[in-house]
Point group: C2
Chain length 336, copies 2
């Protein structure tokens, strides 16, 4: 063999070794550390049939919160921004909104007033923007908005502001026989619009909050009309209730980031055998945001991570992910 | 080749041909006819990628009513019998029931009085027998009952009184990439107890009626307590609403047997492309029961098949299965 050939062979070998090493790492966007290791260990525990912690594939359920766990929730939940945009889009049909709160403040773009909106104010906005049409029309409106709207800071569509390391976890779990569910306080129908394409999660595996619908015939066709009435709030205790209602099995792994995910993690990790509870901590102001009083970060109404949750995480061996330390990249578009 | 060898070869060939023909028929308990052919044609239409009616596997959803469509519902819904048995089992803890309706009539086994029970009476019975325990305890109670209770006429466990031809349809659809859901007016948790074992349908693919649950800590463990309060009635319009809520996709095929399935079939068959609506008609008194005024059979409160439903079936090309003519056997234990 001539030197050139040897060099070529060595290069090819090196490329092959690197490629193999990369292929073997199911979580390439994660830095080595406690969080990554805990996830990998958990998967080994439930998939190795020689261990007492083995779980048959049909029972491998993992649940993921959405806002702040799978995609950006700051400065405001994406669906809330959608609702505010819809108020503006519908304003010409509602001249009375110019003088009626909470619409008046939205149309005037009065951020100080909006920051003080009560739950009742938000209920009015949701009723005005999320109800009164049939389910298919709503899906189309949400789809259109997601295609065109951009996040003010990142200047990208919201569906690009998903966390690459979490996409890898979802894929890693699915490769290992898990069904991955989204369990969100956000609107079930809203998340279903993009969950398949963005997360690889089909509509029937999206559990979320919902409003009531009414079955009617219109123009000779059956439709489901969306009513301005809350049906189910899939948040806090509602997440454990929603999991039982929609899935009927206790998850083996649950991923969240805020107080609203506490009961989901409690319910999940109270089961027998190997269970995994994970919380994403937003501690990376440079690449994303920082918030969470539990770790001395600013408090916020959007995605609260209180001191009590951090204490419970320590006590129950829930993994707290540091976005800053544990994640090599935050978003898919940062990948080299 | 000697004559004996020829004869042997011919016999083997005949055996092989019969075996192959049997293996090739996905619906061996069905007589040839319009109903069987319609089901086979539908599956070919949605699975043949060269046809305009082709449906990608991820969208192949089929929904099945339970009572009267997959298992016997006469003389009374199985879950109602379970509730009555539970009243008797719990009577010693409730001495007041001896003098309080509707419990008094149940404990006296007064069939004439029970036949006249109002919805309110049944609500009292359900509240007394289906609530007040946590979800896991309820599943255990239902499981125990299903193991021991027997149908009065057939003297077999209720889970043996499932329709063999429908098991074949479910299996045939799954083999062709369908997800098979149960969409029942009955209790979601009750059906989840046995659906995997009996129908091959996992808990997350059982959509049904439900009562409210409350998340609580008891003895240091989180539990979901069942409350005596209706949460969702998955019947009539509720079936279309439930399908959208739990599945988020319109089915391509729906199977029912009564007025309570009408909206599910409407919703399903109003979709584009090839859709299949099927109704089971109970017209076989000898092997099962006969009921349904639509076809001159006795009326009954349990599994009503009114004239209007039959008219709509004709108009919309829904298939009406005659149990008597279309099914070679009714139950798995009749198979030779």
């Amino acid at each position: 063999m001539k030197p050139l050939h040897i060099k070529l062979a060595a290069t090819l070998l090196a490329v092959w070794l690197v490629a193999t090493a990369q292929a073997a790492d199911p979580l390439p966007s994660w830095n080595d550390g406690h969080a990554k290791q805990a996830i990998v260990n958990f998967v080994e525990q439930v998939t190795d049939s020689s261990r007492p912690t083995y779980v048959p594939a049909e029972d491998r359920i993992a649940t993921f919160d959405n806002d702040g766990t799978l995609w950006v929730e700051h400065p405001l939940y994406t669906q809330a921004i959608f609702a505010l945009d819809r108020v503006k889009a519908l304003a010409s049909e509602h001249p009375e909104w110019k003088t009626t709160e909470p619409f008046k403040s939205v149309l005037a773009d009065d951020k100080a007033a909006m920051a003080k909106f009560s739950e009742q104010d938000w209920a009015h906005i949701i009723a005005a923007t999320h109800a009164g049409m049939n389910t298919e029309a709503f899906l189309e409106i949400a789809k259109q908005w997601l295609t065109t709207a951009k996040h003010q800071r990142f200047q990208r569509p919201y569906t690009e502001l998903v966390y690459q390391p979490m996409l890898e976890v979802m894929n890693y779990l699915r490769t290992n026989g898990f069904k991955t569910y989204i369990v969100t306080g956000g609107g079930q129908e809203f998340v279903r619009v993009y969950a398949q394409k963005v997360y690889g999660v089909s509509p029937e595996q999206v559990v979320g909050s919902s409003i009531a619908t009414k079955y009617e015939y219109r123009d000779g066709k059956p439709v489901l009309m969306r009513l301005p009435k809350v049906f189910f709030i899939d948040d806090h205790a509602g997440k454990a209730i929603g999991i039982n209602l929609f899935i009927g099995k206790r998850p083996y792994a649950a991923f969240g980031n805020s107080d609203g995910d506490r009961e989901m993690l409690q319910w999940t990790t109270a089961g027998d055998g190997a269970r995994l509870g994970v919380l994403v901590l937003h501690d990376d102001a440079e690449r994303e945001y920082t918030y969470g009083p539990a770790v001395g970060l600013p408090d916020t109404k959007v995605g609260t991570f209180p001191i009590g949750l951090n204490d419970e995480a320590k006590k129950k061996d829930w993994i707290v992910i540091s976005m800053k330390k544990d994640w090599k990249v935050i978003f898919p578009f940062e990948k080299k």
